[in-house]
Structure formats: structure tokens, C-alpha cells
């Protein structure tokens, strides 16, 4: 069974390593995305 990514999740604003904004929904716009949220960078 699948669910749909919530609007809140799709709208979450991220930033890349150059500090440029990136909308979460853009991650799966062109192809399926495997998204891994890590506990921390370390």
C-alpha cells in the first residue's frame, strides 16, 4: 500500500551545500527519489 507525500512535506524548504534554496517536491519532480534523513552530520 502506498501513501502520498503530504503537502507539508512537499513544500518543505531545504538548502543545498551552496546555501541555495531547494523545495522538497523538486527532489522527485524528474525521477523517483530515495530520500534519507540522517540524524546528524558526523
Amino acid at each position: 500500500m502506498t501513501t502520498r507525500a503530504s503537502d507539508d512535506l512537499a513544500a518543505a524548504e531545504l538548502r543545498d551545500t551552496d546555501d541555495r534554496p531547494r523545495a522538497m517536491r523538486d527532489l522527485w519532480r524528474d525521477r523517483p527519489a530515495l530520500v534519507l534523513w540522517v540524524r546528524h552530520f558526523g
Partner: protein, 132 residues
Amino acid sequence: MAELRPHVEELRSIGVEPYVIGSGTPAEARDFQRHVHAESVPVLVDQKLASYAAAGWKRSATATMHPSSWWRGLKSMIAHPQRKTAGDPWQLGGAMIVRRDGEVTFRFRSETGGHHPAIATLVDEARKAVAA
């Protein structure tokens, strides 16, 4: 992320793009990317934790420090020596595979520190997501 690195090209050949999200700063994300030699994996930051909250990932000091995480943490530290903690130390993570139409075909929520999905599972689920 170090465990993911050898499988990045396999995932891309399947048709799935991997991303890593952390809660540190962009500079810390870049440093982390270099430290684990994974410059080919896009690393993004969410300092407001909005995506963590929207995804339903746990934020808990108790869960993060749960005894079940100690052994995993020790093994991880041996394999990939950890430096300073960059990001929210109590925020646990998770994983999702999201298709182009926004359908989430795989979801994994970390229950304690060091609780991750197996890479083989992620690759298998990536294949299923593309085939569906």
C-alpha cells in the same frame, strides 16, 4: 551515508535519484560530504526540521540514547569515525522513496539512534518503485 555510497550508481541505473538530508548547516553538509567521500550524492540541509516533522520522524533524547543504539553506534564509529555532531542531536531520521507522482512507495522511520534500513532493502524497494 558511507554505506550508501557504493550503491549510488546502481540506484541511478535503476532510475532512482538518492538524496541525503541533515539538520546541520550547508557548510557542515559539504564537510560531511567530503569526509565520507560522497561528493556525488546530493546532500541538503533542513535546519528548521520542517521536512523531518512533516515526514513524521521522531525527535527524542530517550530514543536517541536508547541502549539498543549503543552497539550499532560503536560499530558505526569503528567503521566510520565520527567527528563532532553537526545538527540536532536528538532528531532521528528515516527514509522514503517517492515516485514522480508523489506516491510514497517505501517509508522507514528510525526508532533509535543507528536504526537504519539495510542498503539491500533500499535497492530492492527502489526497483519496486520504478516497476510499479
